[in-house]
C-alpha cells in the first residue's frame, strides 16, 4: 500500500529527517535551506529539529560548498547539498568532476565520498534558458558518479535515503513539477524495485520515461488503451547505473520502443539507451525505436515561444499512433488550459 497523502516534497523532507536522525554526524546545507520558503518546503523544520550546526544556510558559493562537502565527507560526515535549480550547480563542476567523482579512485580507494547533491529542475512559467535544463547526461558521463531521478513520492523517499547512505557521490534530480504530487493520483500499486521500474504492464510498446514525463506517459497509456494499444511504462529512476537488462526484457516482449527524455537530444540519456537497444536487439524490432526530447535549442522564456516545446501526453499519443500507423480522434482529448504549469497549484514564480 502506498502511504496516503505523502506528496513528493514531503517525502523528500521525510527522507532527510529520517537520515539526519539515523546518522548523528550527517549535515545538510544549501542556499535558502532555512529561509521562509525552505526549498519548496522540502527542508521545512529540519533546522529546528536537528539544530543549526547540522542544517544550515550558506554563502552563495556553489563550487566551494561542493568541495567543502567532499572535505567533510572524507572525514566521516555525510553531506547533502541542495541547489534550487540544477543550472546553479554548473558553478561547481570542478568539484563534482575533479573531486567528488575522483577522490576515491585517484587515491587508490583510500577514502570514500558520501555526498548527495540535490538538484531541482524547472519547466514552464518562463524558467527559460538557465532555470530549466536537464543536464543529467553530463553527470552520467563522469565515472564515479551515480545519477538518480525519481518520479514518485514513495520512490523519492526511498531513493534519497539510499543516496545519502551510499558511500559514493550521488546526483539526485528532482523535477519541480512533481513536488506537490501524490502517488495515489497516478499509481494503483507500489513499484517493486529501485531501478528501472516497470510501473504499468503492457504488450504492444515499451514506453521508457523519466521523472515528470512518466506521468505524461501514464496519461498517454490510458488514451491509447481505448484503441487497443497496450503500453508498458518503464520509469528509469536510476539514470546511472542504468538497469538495461530490465529495459531490454520489456522490449523483447513488446518489440516496439519509445523513449521520453526531458533533456536535450545530443548525447542524451535517450540516445544512450537507443544505442544499447541497437547493440543488443539489432533488427529485431517491429518499428524503429524513437525518442522524444527537448529540441537542440536553449529554452526561451516567453509563454508564447514555449507553446509547443514540451513533451506532453498528446505528443506521446500522436507519436505512438504514427508508429502503429493508426489514427484516432484527438480533438476530444482534454488539453491543459495552460501549457506552462503543472496544475492550478503552481502560481510561480519558480
Amino acid at each position: 500500500m502506498l502511504k496516503k497523502k505523502m506528496n513528493f516534497k514531503d517525502s523528500i523532507n521525510s527522507a532527510l529527517a529520517f537520515s539526519l536522525k539515523k546518522d548523528k554526524n550527517m549535515i545538510c546545507y544549501g542556499l535558502g535551506i532555512n529561509d521562509p520558503k525552505s526549498i519548496f518546503g522540502t527542508t521545512k523544520n529540519l533546522s529546528k529539529k536537528f539544530g543549526q550546526n547540522r542544517v544550515f544556510d550558506v554563502p552563495t558559493s556553489e563550487n566551494a560548498l561542493t568541495g567543502i562537502a567532499v572535505g567533510a565527507a572524507i572525514s566521516g560526515i555525510r553531506t547533502v547539498i541542495t541547489h534550487q535549480r540544477l543550472d546553479f550547480s554548473l558553478l561547481s563542476m570542478d568539484q563534482i568532476v575533479n573531486s567528488a567523482a575522483k577522490w576515491r579512485y585517484m587515491f587508490g580507494g583510500k577514502l570514500s565520498v558520501p555526498i548527495t547533491i540535490r538538484m531541482i529542475l524547472g519547466r514552464g512559467w518562463g524558467q527559460g534558458p538557465t532555470h530549466s535544463q536537464n543536464l543529467a547526461p553530463m553527470f552520467c558521463n563522469i565515472p564515479g558518479l551515480k545519477v538518480f531521478m525519481p518520479t514518485f513520492a514513495d520512490d523519492a523517499k526511498r531513493l534519497l535515503i539510499k543516496s545519502i547512505f551510499d558511500p559514493n557521490p550521488v546526483i539526485f534530480l528532482e523535477h519541480r513539477w512533481l513536488h506537490e504530487l501524490k502517488d495515489e493520483d497516478f499509481l494503483d500499486k507500489k513499484p517493486d524495485s529501485l531501478s528501472s521500474n516497470i510501473i504499468s504492464k503492457g504488450s504492444d510498446l515499451t514506453l521508457i520515461s523519466m521523472s515528470y514525463l512518466t506521468l505524461e506517459a501514464l496519461k498517454a497509456k490510458k488514451i491509447l488503451k481505448k484503441i487497443g494499444i497496450n503500453i508498458e511504462v518503464v520509469d528509469l529512476i536510476s539514470l546511472k547505473p542504468l538497469n538495461i537488462s530490465k529495459i531490454l526484457k520489456s522490449i523483447k516482449k513488446t518489440n516496439r520502443v519509445l523513449i521520453l527524455d526531458t533533456g536535450f537530444p545530443y548525447g542524451s540519456i535517450s540516445s544512450e539507451i537507443l544505442s544499447l537497444i541497437y547493440k543488443n536487439l539489432n533488427g529485431k524490432l517491429k518499428t524503429s525505436p524513437i525518442s522524444l526530447t527537448m529540441p537542440d535549442i536553449p529554452e526561451p522564456t516567453s509563454f508564447f515561444l514555449t507553446k509547443n516545446l514540451y513533451i506532453d501526453h498528446i505528443k506521446v499519443v500522436k507519436t505512438v499512433l504514427k508508429m502503429f500507423k493508426k489514427s484516432m480522434n484527438l480533438k476530444k482529448l482534454k488539453k491543459p488550459e495552460f501549457h506552462d504549469v503543472p496544475g492550478t497549484w503552481f502560481k510561480g514564480p519558480f
Partner: protein, 318 residues
C-alpha cells in the same frame, strides 16, 4: 644553533632537497612516467610546517605536493613508489606525483587542478569544528590559486563559519611561465586583501626556515585561541622548471638578476652556513642518514610490484 629544533629543521630541509634532486636525477631513466613538480628552493616552508603540525591535524595540497606530504609525515617509500606507478604507491598507482595521500597521518590528498583542494581542506576544517576537535586543517597552494574564484569562496566560508583552517600560500612568483605582473595588480598586498575578507593574515620570508617556523607557530596558537582561520603568505622561489626534472632558465622567462638574487637566498644553504665547525660532525651523520633513507625508498619503489591490470576497474565506486 645547537638546539634540537635546528637540527630537525636542517634534517627536513636537506631530506626534502635531496629527495627532489634524486627524482630529478632518476627522471631521465623514463621509469617515472608522470609529470613532476619539484619544490627545490621552497623547502623551508614545509620543513617548518613539519615541526609544528600534529598527527591529527589535516592537510591537503596542490600539484606541487611532495614536500607538504612529507612534511605532514607521509611515507617516503610509498610516495616514490607512487611516482614510479607501482602497486605499493600511496595512491596504488592511480594518482602519480600530483595525487598523494597518506590517511595514516591525515594527509587527505592533493590535486592537479589549481585551487581545487582549497575547499576540501575547508571542509576538513568544518569537520573538525563539528566534531569539537582541537586540531586544524592546513591547506597548501601557490599564489596562482589566488586567481581562482574558489579561493575567495572558501576563505569567505571559513570566516563566516569560524573554522580552524590555516590557508598556506607559497608565492613563488610564477604560474608556469607567466609572471605575477600579468596576473595580479602590481602593488596589491595579498595578505591585506585576504584580511579584508575577514581573516587574520601573516606574511613571511619563505626562504628563512626559522621565520617560517615562528609564523606557523603563531598561526597555530591563533587558531586554537581565537577559534578562527588564518591566511599565511610565504615568499619563495623555485630553482627548477615549473614541471619536470630540469632547470629552464635558458628560456629567459625569469630575469637573470631575479634568479641570482633568489639563489643567494637559498634556504638550505643559508641555514647550513649558520652551523659552526663544532656541529659539522652531527650534520655529517644526518646527511648519511638522509642518503640511506632516500636510497632505501628508491630501491623499495623500483623493486615493488606493478599494479595488476585488473586493478584498473577497482575503486571507482565504494
Amino acid at each position: 644553533m645547537n638546539s634540537n629544533l635546528n637540527f630537525k629543521l636542517y634534517y627536513k630541509m636537506k631530506l626534502f632537497r635531496e629527495v627532489e634532486l634524486k627524482i630529478a636525477m632518476e627522471y631521465s631513466s623514463r621509469k617515472m612516467r608522470c609529470p613532476v613538480h619539484l619544490s627545490v628552493g621552497q623547502e623551508a616552508v614545509s620543513a617548518a610546517f613539519s615541526q609544528i603540525v600534529r598527527k591529527n591535524d589535516y592537510a591537503v595540497s596542490s600539484h606541487r605536493p611532495h614536500l607538504h606530504y612529507l612534511g605532514k609525515g607521509g611515507n617516503l617509500k610509498r610516495m616514490i613508489s607512487e611516482i614510479y606507478g607501482k602497486k605499493t604507491g600511496c595512491s596504488s598507482g592511480k594518482g602519480g606525483s600530483m595525487h598523494l595521500i597518506d590517511t595514516s597521518v591525515n594527509f587527505m590528498g592533493s590535486s592537479a587542478i589549481v585551487a581545487n583542494s582549497i575547499p576540501i581542506g575547508t571542509g576538513l576544517a568544518l569537520s573538525l569544528k563539528l566534531k569539537n576537535k582541537i586540531n586544524v586543517s592546513y591547506i597548501f597552494f601557490g599564489e596562482g590559486a589566488l586567481e581562482q574564484g574558489v579561493f575567495y569562496e572558501s576563505v569567505n566560508f571559513a570566516a563566516v563559519k569560524k573554522i580552524p583552517a590555516i590557508f598556506v600560500c607559497e608565492n613563488n612568483l610564477y604560474s608556469v611561465y607567466t609572471s605575477l605582473k600579468d596576473r595580479q595588480p602590481e602593488k596589491r598586498k595579498n595578505s591585506k586583501m585576504v584580511e579584508a575578507i575577514g581573516i587574520k593574515s601573516f606574511t613571511c620570508n619563505g626562504n628563512n626556515v626559522f621565520e617560517c617556523y615562528k609564523i606557523f607557530n603563531k598561526a597555530k596558537q591563533y587558531v586554537s585561541k581565537e577559534k578562527k582561520p588564518v591566511f599565511l603568505e610565504f615568499f619563495t622561489y623555485r630553482h627548477y622548471e615549473h614541471c619536470g626534472p630540469n632547470k629552464d632558465d635558458n628560456l629567459n622567462y625569469r630575469p637573470k638578476n631575479e634568479i641570482n638574487s633568489w639563489l643567494k637566498k637559498d634556504p638550505l644553504k643559508n641555514f647550513t652556513n649558520n652551523f659552526t665547525n663544532a656541529h659539522k660532525q652531527k650534520i655529517k651523520i644526518l646527511d648519511k642518514e638522509i642518503q640511506k633513507k632516500i636510497k632505501d625508498a628508491f630501491e623499495y619503489a623500483k623493486k615493488s610490484p606493478k599494479p595488476k591490470l585488473s586493478d584498473l576497474r577497482k575503486d571507482i565506486y565504494a
